[in-house]
């Protein structure tokens, strides 16, 4: 039995892992699954021709697909909740966020990106919407019923609404605002902490 300092040094999450390991895949199996997933994604990218990096956008699409799929699947499969694993999850999360942010900025400032200008608000909505949802899943302990969290949710909901509205107006002129309100309400509600504390 390690000493208390050593246990706490690893963080309490290590203890959750200890209690929950009977329910989860063994760490080796988790690692094997992740390797298989990376292999399958790479194979699909190879088959679809993105991995040859010949065309403009191949590098962007490859990076975005790898980062976002791993950002979603890594915390879902790797349940060894040690501090190091959490660090890797957050690392992949930030990699996905920065890669998408860079893509959006390039699309805004470089006219020949191949991305329609009308699609840029949706990419921002995706960045805000999925970014915050994923952050909530990765750090549920940070999402508490505090004024700061409510303010954060409100601010992200406003940005999300404006972007979805701008995009929806292209598809459903006149009605886009109503659909945007519904989607934004769902988005804000999904972010609200509903578990008992």
């Amino acid at each position: 039995m390690p000493g208390g300092d050593q246990l706490v040094e690893e963080g309490t999450e290590a203890i959750i892992e200890d209690m929950g390991k009977g329910y989860r895949f063994r760490p080796l199996m988790q690692a094997v699954l992740m390797i298989i997933i990376v292999f399958v994604i790479s194979f699909i990218l190879f088959l679809t021709g993105f991995l040859d990096f010949k065309d403009q956008g191949d590098l962007t699409i490859t990076t975005l697909i790898l980062c976002w799929i791993l950002a979603f699947l890594f915390p879902l499969i790797v349940k060894s909740k040690t501090h190091r694993i959490h660090q890797i999850s957050m690392g992949i999360y930030f990699a996905a966020i920065l890669a998408l942010t860079g893509t959006i900025l390039l699309a805004i400032f470089e006219g020949d990106s191949g991305i329609e200008k009308t699609s840029i608000p949706l990419l921002i909505a995706f960045l805000v919407g999925i970014g915050t949802q994923l952050f909530e899943h990765l750090n549920p302990e940070l999402i508490k019923r505090t004024a700061r969290i409510y303010l954060g949710i409100f601010a992200s909901a406003v940005v999300f609404f404006i972007c979805v509205w701008l995009y929806m107006e292209n598809i459903l002129p006149g009605f886009g605002i109503w659909l945007s309100i519904v989607i934004t309400a769902l988005f804000a509600y999904a972010l609200l902490p509903e578990k008992p504390k």
Partner: protein, 313 residues
Amino acid sequence: MTYAEWEWIIPVLSIIGFVVGILVTWRQYKIPGIGDVIDAITTYYLDEQKFTFQKISADLKLPDPVVKHALKELERRDVIYRTKSGWFAMNDPLIFLSEKDMIRAKRLTKGDNLIYGAYQNPFFSHSELLLVYGIFIGTIIFGLVCGFIEPARTWLLSMLGTANIIDGAIFLLFIIMVGMITTDALENLISIWSRERYSVIIGEMSGISYDTSYSDEYSGRIGRGMIRRADLQITPIQKFMNYFMRVPIGDIRICCVAKKDGGPEVEFKNLPFPREMFYVIRSIQLKSLGWRKRHARTLMLWRARGAIPSIGF
């Protein structure tokens, strides 16, 4: 400069993002004296309701600032909490109830030492899973079909009638995003639905108390002496979902004394950490909290953050 000339910046940004993510979660965890404080609490105050800083300090003979800092850190991590009167109390790690329900449970068990408390999730069924995750999986399948199969993509854009101004691939991202947000919102709704209903608590003396209907007040009772057999059952689908879900779940079946003597067989569905609940039931059945004492240290370090066995991941 063209987009192609700047494209290299995307993978570079992702590498920078990875490093940033690692750095922002970098924390120093080593807190001096914290192990001794945990030892003192689990040794002397495990089944006590409350303890004070002075008591811990006197037991340990450590400098006051060290004990204070350790207690503060444990409080920050929700392992212990401070009562209104300024005492400290242990957040029992197997209590998954909201604060309001915890007070209700304490009141109805006349202040019994509660060892386990959680909500059943009666809505966790195949049809519910199909409904909630079907939306998300459906949008992904739709996205893949319309993204990779050209006739489907053409059909989609013709349906939208905006082929000249809408990027098909990005519209599919929009569909997937809406599916994900809807699924998350439904999860929240289900959590609310099951909260404060169908809760189960296990007390050291009072045995098992549970709600039998919505807004019930623990009218279901199984006294310690009535428990004849307790079985842990994890169905194949629960076992599969437990690999990925945030909180593992399972069923507990309790065989009471014969019905004519006062007790039927009771089944609790989809409770969090069912194996630990099973150990708790065995402990109170045997009138020995040995298992709890043996694992007190681990249990205490286990973050006592409430969680509904929601179908969330």
